[in-house]
Symmetry: C2
Subunit: 457 residues, 2 copies
């Protein structure tokens, strides 16, 4: 049974009818985890339908000091939506109305529970899309995209969530309904609360409505696959590509481990001698694709290159790329997955460092990711039942993070801090800046009820 | 003489040598105004050379409760850099080192006093540029660009300042040296303090270093001039252009008053019967310019169009456009210049409304601006010595702002609030959100010494 105080429960039930307030442990279980695979059971799960219900819930939780953990679709890998300290899991999945599709102004207004893909489907008939494209786009919500500042392969050309939102409505941890930003593509009145909330992982406010800025759909795309004798040559090619003026719309790196995984599922798809690969996409008008491809192919070439060519069936390649994470889950269900970022010019050094650390600690690792942003997903393939291995993995992870920070990098490019990276945050953010962030948190959420135990150690 | 307390002055002099601390009224005068043309004399002007000097100054000013007003090059039109309450004018003009030009990572690191144009010149040899392009780019500083969230004609395609900054160093109003953001194009660790500071007009912190994200220079541009029988047809064309998939790199609107001004200086440059004009630029690879121009020309066409064609000498047109503001100053030195924004689809309605208000209040107005963002510079040509006219102008301005807000617009697209728009801010930002902003201000600047009297009524 839930451990919430009786008077609180009574008030909660008066706010939410039974079908929108789960108290049974079986019902609550599905809201106890996310893609970080940690499990913390909430005491209640509620499903508000509008901002006013959220405001009333938050006021109630403030009164009783009950934690509230906002939640989209639970696809995050950093544990940001896990109700670690119990209390109320606030699921936004039933707030899924698209409130406006305003193609003339290149705007969609949506509630937080709308899926990323639903936004794309609403935008497409008008010739537009919304650029953030995490690999979970078919089932993740825009509320979650906003909370984490989600990216994806196309961020190298189009940027991440923060670049594609004009305004927000939200309810703060104090219970104030606020409006951030505006409806137009320009606007500088007041502080930029929009971007303060984006990426704040539900620790400041619950987003109740978002005004999304749309981008014209590219008319055509071209795909290139490039293979290399070693990771170092591949990293050199990444630098060369990003130094010239044609910005690819995607530039994905796959290391030997990743290629071997794909080979295990798709025999014959990849050259046998390839030790590192780039999957590159360019987009634009049909007439410019050949020119863009030529520029990229020229930049790809170096003495370690085996082969680089335009691919006719880019879709097959992308499917293989998208399947990497699930494939890794198959062989190492509890893999440690990080999404570190380094400046593109430091990628060769990073890959060398990762190899050295992997061999020093006797850990298998698989690295792939959004190389055009220097954003590499490092996967340590560990067995959680193997105590010594887990100990080594923890030490190795610490060294990876130090390596990244020594190279002017960051601990997370798109997954966020959540609870998984919280122990490491103070290595990146100095004490003075961290203190300022905590004081900002206190302004939004003076009683600390909103997603406690996240972001800050 | 300065009215600062003696012990404060003694400490100030120990921090800054005489050549970097102006106390004489003649020297101080040049720091008493900006492009808003209001005059408030600071009691001292200091020129720090690094963040540590700024930190010490701010700690000292906190101790004595002396206002500090940070200042770039004083090109702002909203009065954000005016030391309205006296105290210390903190000029950043001598912090003008470019600390790194890192083309491999598409990054320039610069001190706040570096001029916008100096950034462009440093980026250009590597094939890059920094997109914010206010018309004062030759002499405004990036610190000022950051403080105001500056835009410019190219914002329609490239966005504004907030879209082109990776990280910042700053000293808060409390005297804390903080670091915001990171060095990479992706990063979601901690709150987005970078964008919280951008556009905060020096009320939260003094930016001491900026990591700027560069964009590849377009290889080619194409220009189009389109003329219309009336403003309404022209506005319809703007909507049509922004509804299709080729985003122009600039889309400038000029009304009849603007065209007459240009005609007075450049006889024969413009068709006699044109009552509204669009100056359009597209950019990209040389091969795609003709295609882009065709798409734009198709969207330009409607029954009110007189003529639309590619221009060979786009430079002459742009010079004419840039000369508009100075020309207006000639005929109305104290013109009231606003930079309102409405959703692009509401432009016809806005222009009708402006015309009606202008005739109702018997005021001449001239409107032009960045139509692709719905960002129109409304100029009321008033004579400040004509009391009744000034009274009518004030009423008219209030009605213009109400009209804009009723259309989901915003009071400022790129100039900021400063002191000029402060009386109107509460029409746009609701009381609850405003209170939150003020509490954020108090976190950064608990004693309210940083740029007091700005932003918030």
């Amino acid at each position: 049974m839930s451990s919430l105080p009786e008077p609180f429960l009574a008030r909660l039930k008066s706010l939410f009818p039974a079908e929108r307030c789960y108290l049974d442990v079986v019902d609550r279980y599905a809201y106890s985890y996310d893609n970080s695979r940690k499990i913390f059971l909430p005491d209640a799960v509620v499903f508000p339908l509008d901002a006013e219900e959220i405001r009333e819930l938050i006021l109630l939780c403030n009164e009783y000091g009950i934690p509230v953990t906002p939640r989209g679709r639970g696809t995050g890998t950093a544990g940001g939506s896990i109700p670690e300290r119990g209390g109320v899991a606030l699921s936004l999945e039933r707030m899924r109305k698209i409130l406006a599709v305003d193609a003339k102004n290149r705007v969609i207004v949506a509630e937080p529970g709308v899926l990323n893909q639903e936004v794309q489907e609403a935008a497409k008939p008008h010739g537009f899309f919304w650029p953030p494209d995490p690999s979970s786009s078919a089932y993740c919500s825009i509320g979650g995209n906003l909370a984490t500042g989600a990216g994806g392969p196309h961020a190298v050309k189009y940027g991440t969530t923060r670049d594609h939102v004009l305004g927000l409505r939200a309810v703060t941890g104090k219970g104030d309904a606020i409006r951030a930003g505006c409806y137009t593509t320009k606007g500088v009145v007041g502080y930029d609360l929009t971007r303060l909330l984006i990426g704040s992982e539900g620790t400041l406010a619950v987003i109740t409505e978002a005004t999304l800025k749309l981008t014209p759909l590219p008319q055509a795309t071209g795909g290139i696959a490039a293979h290399y004798r070693d990771a170092e040559s591949c990293a050199d090619a990444i630098i060369a590509i990003m130094s010239q003026s044609v910005t690819p719309s995607a530039l994905e790196f796959l290391d030997e481990g990743s290629l071997n995984l794909i080979r295990s599922r798709h025999p014959g798809m990849l050259p046998e001698n390839s030790k590192a690969m780039l999957m590159i996409e360019v987009d634009g008008a049909p007439s410019e694709i050949p020119e863009y491809c030529s520029a990229i192919l020229a930049a790809c070439g170096n003495s370690g290159m085996i082969d680089a060519e335009r691919v006719s069936d880019a879709q097959a390649l992308w499917s293989a790329r998208r399947a990497l994470s699930p494939l890794l889950r198959d062989i190492a269900p509890k893999k440690i997955n990080e999404d570190i970022v380094v400046p593109v010019s430091r990628l060769p050094e990073l890959l060398r460092g990762l190899e050295a650390l992997s061999s020093e600690y006797g850990l298998a690792n698989v690295n792939f990711g959004h190389a055009g942003n220097g954003n590499i997903h490092v996967n340590l393939l560990v067995d959680p039942d193997n105590g010594p291995e887990m100990g080594r993995a923890e030490s190795c992870l610490g060294e990876i993070f130090d390596l990244v920070l020594a190279m002017d990098g960051t601990l997370s490019g798109e997954h966020g801090v959540g609870r998984e990276k919280m122990p490491y945050v103070s290595r990146e953010i100095d004490a003075v800046t961290m203190d300022l962030m905590k004081r900002i948190k206190a302004v939004f959420d003076p009683n600390g009820i909103l997603n406690p135990g996240k972001l800050f150690p």
